[in-house]
């Protein structure tokens, strides 16, 4: 009798203790929120782009305020797979104005910046552990880098030429040479140029410059053309654009764009402060149209002329479009749409208590998402933050 009782008690004990919590390193990587603090009162870092490295860690490209320059300096940071700070580099002040995309080409991480004296575009190379930073000038007369995106082993780079007052789109090879380029006027007069310069010295509005290529098709850039912030399509051969989706001076236009096919795009547009998400929009790359006519899902919760990031992702085996933006309540809003139909699936809001602003959202190797942004500790100190979201937390995507 006693033996039987003991056996029952032992079995029950083993059963119940098998269901308790234990330290689990897997959970540490699946989801976390990390804020990268610095105890210097005047430190001001802000993220620009982020990639996940092969070791599961994260490499963050950021900017930093410089005491001796109106331009922003370069800041690089490495976090491990749990999001913990590993290393940072403040790149020499003689290189400024870093831009996205932080691209992985030829086993190195690359991005563009510029020389503050010559204003010429430079290419920066580093590695996954930030053990070295190499900077070299990009061939050709390219100034003021605005945006870049990888196209195969090349970069599609949008720059601004202050000498000729032109937006320049160029294809830059992995070795840093310009293989093709084409320039388009922004219009005559200093007033057209003023907001562009203010963008670079961060005293004015930050414009959603973009550059890229429709898969196997035309190149495009989202920037200033003919007095207007427009989406311009070009084959880099003809002097005139093949197609233009016009904005309204700098009060309307695209705030983000992601080509899905030759004519189908996922986009977002702004119009006098209002924001519209267009998860399934057909654009004519060889014609002229206006972004105002495109309609879209209006989201009054977003801050005026909100920054928008769009990526494609496969979450819980479903192909989705992930829109990331900033809300009026100072949260980061993520909006998920069916890639095939543009149907809204779900949303998720990140951050509370202190303000949060998005810089980039990426997919991670475990099928989740990572969002990089800025938060303000104690409501005042801007610090880079990294929020990892596990796919299982994204309910509503089946």
């Amino acid at each position: 009798m006693i033996k039987q009782l003991f056996s029952v008690l032992l079995a029950g004990f083993l059963l119940v203790t098998s269901c308790v919590e234990e330290t689990n390193p897997e959970f540490d990587q699946k989801s976390f929120t990390k804020i990268y603090d610095n105890n210097l009162f005047t430190t001001n870092y802000f993220p620009i782009d982020m990639v996940q490295t092969p070791d599961g860690g994260y490499l963050i490209l950021g900017g930093r305020r410089l005491a001796e320059s109106n331009f922003t300096g370069i800041y690089l940071m490495k976090a491990d797979k749990d999001g913990n700070f590993v290393k940072e580099i403040e790149v020499d002040d003689s290189y400024v104005n870093p831009i996205a995309q932080l691209a992985f080409i030829n086993d190195t991480y690359n991005f563009f910046c510029m020389d503050p004296l010559t204003l010429q575009v430079q290419r920066v190379q580093t590695d996954a552990n930030l053990e070295g930073v190499n900077i070299s000038a990009v061939g050709g007369d390219l100034y003021y880098p605005c945006a870049s995106r990888v196209d195969g082993n090349n970069y599609v780079l949008l720059t601004y030429d202050h000498l000729t007052k032109q937006s320049v789109i160029a294809v830059v090879t992995a070795s840093g040479a310009v293989s093709q380029s084409k320039a388009f006027t922004i219009g005559a007069g200093d007033k057209v140029e003023e907001p562009i310069i203010n963008h670079f010295i961060r005293t004015g509005r930050q414009y959603p410059f973009e550059a890229g290529r429709i898969p196997g098709g035309l190149y495009y850039f989202n920037g200033f053309y003919n007095y207007t912030f427009s989406l311009v399509f070009t084959d880099l051969n003809q002097n005139d654009p093949r197609g233009v989706v016009q904005g309204i001076q700098d009060d309307g236009g695209f705030s983000a764009l992601l080509p899905l096919s030759i004519t189908k795009f996922a986009g977002a547009r702004f119009n006098f402060g209002d924001n519209y998400l267009l998860p399934n929009v057909i654009l004519n790359p060889t014609g002229t149209s206006s972004s105002v006519d495109l309609g879209g899902n209006t989201l009054p919760e977003l801050e005026p002329n909100a920054k928008v990031k769009i990526i494609r992702a496969t979450i819980n085996t479903k192909n989705v479009l992930v829109y990331g933006s900033n809300t009026r309540s100072k949260q980061i809003g993520l909006y998920f749409y069916d890639e095939a139909t543009g149907t809204f699936l779900t949303s998720k809001y990140l951050g509370f208590s202190n303000p949060f602003e998005i810089a980039q959202v990426i997919t991670t190797e475990d099928g989740g998402l990572a969002v990089c942004g800025t938060t303000y500790i104690a409501g005042r100190f801007p610090r880079i933050c990294l929020i990892k979201i596990d796919a299982s937390d994204l309910t509503g995507i089946q």
Binding site: L9, F13, V16, T17, C19, V20, E21, E22, T23, N24, F27, K30, S31, F32, T33, K34, I35, Y36, D37, N38, N39, L40, F41, T42, M77, A79, G83, N84, F85, E88, Q331, Y349, L350, G351, F352, S353, N354, F356, T375, I377, A378, R380, F381
Partner: protein, 296 residues
């Protein structure tokens, strides 16, 4: 919780007033082999039922430290939480069912336990070039956790008399019922033109998702029963050693309100020092002349 205390008090008073009414039946009616005579075996064993309530103090064993803040230019250890052990008073109510046999007792004591523990973080931002550019912040955190617990306890009565001290060891299993968390941010801002001391309204949130659904632990303690008529007054002191984590490892960053201010729970085990007072009633009735003092 107040209702539970009131209920406990009522039950205790009712038991004292009406417990063990005179019986006409002899002990043999319940146990034909037993005899109440000296040397008989009826008083060798007994079932006891009672209710206890009291206060408890908690301390925390940190298994692994976590923080949502990851510093770049100062040691990560500066973000460690400073736990205030045994300084916040919780409470518990326990129903006790014990089987006594020749000085040994096997006891089942399901309980509702309300535990509190607190910790704080201190941060400072300064400017080497301007002493007035300085901010000090203190985050005071208070956790309130409610568990239903089922302990199995073995007791041994050291001596048998009107006052019967005992020692006890056991194991318990706890189920999470509810949890709340309060974070109060206070500080001194030297950058606003003076010494600006401030205390913000606390952030109070339901934190059930941040805690483990189940946990278990070991317990040991001492106590004493005082035989008063047919009932026993009981004073019980237990130290409960948590053997599994009480936090949720999966939902550590599950609250945006907390992670947004840099707060994330460590992997912790909860230990608890509990003081209870209660009353026990015998379940095996004897003749009207029976006194618990007769128990062997």
């Amino acid at each position: 919780m107040k209702k539970l205390y009131s209920l406990s008090l009522l039950l205790l008073m009712a038991a004292l007033a009406f417990g063990q009414p005179p019986k006409k039946k002899t002990p043999q009616a319940y146990n034909s082999r037993a005899t109440n005579a000296p040397g008989g075996n009826f008083l060798d064993k007994q079932w006891w039922l009672g209710l206890k309530a009291g206060v408890n103090l908690s301390d925390v064993s940190v298994e692994k430290r976590y923080s949502a803040l990851s510093p770049g230019n100062y040691p990560a250890s500066q973000t460690d939480k400073a736990y205030d052990n045994f300084n916040a008073i919780g409470s518990q109510v326990t129903l006790e069912v014990s089987f006594y046999y020749k000085g040994f007792s096997f006891s089942l004591q399901p309980a509702y336990r309300h535990s509190l523990f607190t910790y704080s973080n201190n941060y400072e931002w300064s400017d080497p070039e301007n002493a007035s550019n300085r901010l000090e912040l203190t985050y005071d955190n208070e956790q309130k956790v409610d568990h239903a617990e089922i302990p199995l306890i073995f007791k041994y009565d050291i001596i048998g008399n009107r006052l019967r001290p005992y020692v006890q060891v056991g194991v318990y299993y706890g189920f999470l019922i509810n949890a709340n968390k309060s974070v109060e941010v206070s500080g001194i801002d030297y950058a606003s033109g003076g010494t600006n001391k401030f205390i913000n309204d606390p952030v109070i949130i339901g934190a059930k998702d941040l805690f483990a659904q189940n946990h278990w632990g070991l317990l040991g303690g001492i106590g004493a029963n005082y035989n008063l008529g047919n009932v026993r007054l009981n004073l019980d002191i237990q130290y409960r050693k948590g053997m599994s984590l009480i936090n949720s490892t999966e939902n550590r960053f599950g609250s945006d309100r907390l992670s947004g201010i840099g707060e994330a729970m460590d992997d912790i085990k909860l230990n608890n020092l509990a003081f209870s007072f209660g009353c026990l009633f015998p379940m095996r009735y004897l003749a009207s002349g029976f006194k618990t003092l007769d128990q062997r």
